[in-house]
């Protein structure tokens, strides 16, 4: 079950619809610049997340859209969930190394503190992407508030 505490991690201030990145490196750099002043991430975040994505890619091609869930441990000060709906899709390698590169239209960066944390949350998020209507509803939103509402209403 997704707890109220989990839902509090979704915040419009951490939804970015104006990031335009040519590749994952640029995406992480730009996202880091947004997260850093807010105190969420440690100095090693950028190198940790890049390395993690290179070693264990997180692109997921669902039936409706490409998503990516980049994350790394030991580089987060306080738990957060950042959502990027990039101006142009960003190419991620597929999780598990099988299949084609994934053109990610939605990137969810789970900033987690403890190993094994937020399993219910991840499962809840993946359920949204298994549901075409729920996914389309998220993607049709054009404001951070709309995106947060479209996601959290499906998790409650």
């Amino acid at each position: 079950m997704v707890t109220k505490e989990d839902l509090r991690l979704f915040h419009p201030d951490l939804v970015f619809c104006d990031i335009d990145a040519a590749d994952t490196d640029e995406l992480f750099k730009l996202l880091g610049q947004r997260l850093s002043p807010k105190g969420y991430i440690k100095e090693n975040w950028l190198s940790a997340i890049k390395e993690r994505e290179r070693d264990y890619a997180t692109g997921l091609q669902t039936r409706t859209i490409g998503v990516a869930i980049p994350h790394a441990d030991n580089c987060v000060n306080k738990a957060y969930i950042a959502i990027v709906k990039p101006v142009h899709p960003v190419v991620f390698q597929p999780m598990g190394g099988i299949g084609d590169p994934v053109s990610a239209e939605l990137i969810i960066n789970l900033g987690i503190l403890r190993e094994g944390g937020e399993v219910d949350l991840l499962q809840g998020l993946m359920r949204i992407f298994l549901d075409d209507d729920a996914t389309n509803n998220v993607m049709q939103q054009e404001t951070p508030e709309g995106i947060i509402k479209a996601i959290t209403s499906r998790l409650m």
Partner: protein
């Protein structure tokens, strides 16, 4: 009734392994195949496989990124996250486990 052992393997930190292992467990329970789950990081995989002796291994990292010292088959758990090919994967795993017999 045999209690099957599922091992989920993922990179580290985020529990994609727990998520896929749980989804498999739920799918198997619907087919009256009770299962317990355990998860580990890829760097711990070889040791955990030796100690836990799973019936089936589900990985969200490349299935070639760790050594599997057992005869348990390694499946990619990614279809359970994307939904694409998920029911076929469940069927394949159930068939695999049944073909192994109740040992």
């Amino acid at each position: 009734m045999k209690q099957y052992k599922i091992l989920g393997v993922c990179g580290a930190g985020l529990s994609t392994s727990t998520t896929v292992a749980r989804m498999l467990q739920q799918g198997m329970e619907k087919r009256n195949m009770p299962a317990q789950i355990r998860t580990c990081k890829v760097i711990e995989a070889t040791g955990t496989i030796k100690g836990y002796d799973p019936d089936v291994i589900l990985s969200t990292v490349a299935t070639t990124s760790f050594e599997n010292p057992s005869d348990a088959k390694v499946f990619s758990g990614v279809p359970l996250l994307t939904g694409v090919g998920a029911s076929k994967l469940l069927d394949d795993i159930v068939e695999y486990l049944k073909s192994k017999g109740d040992e």
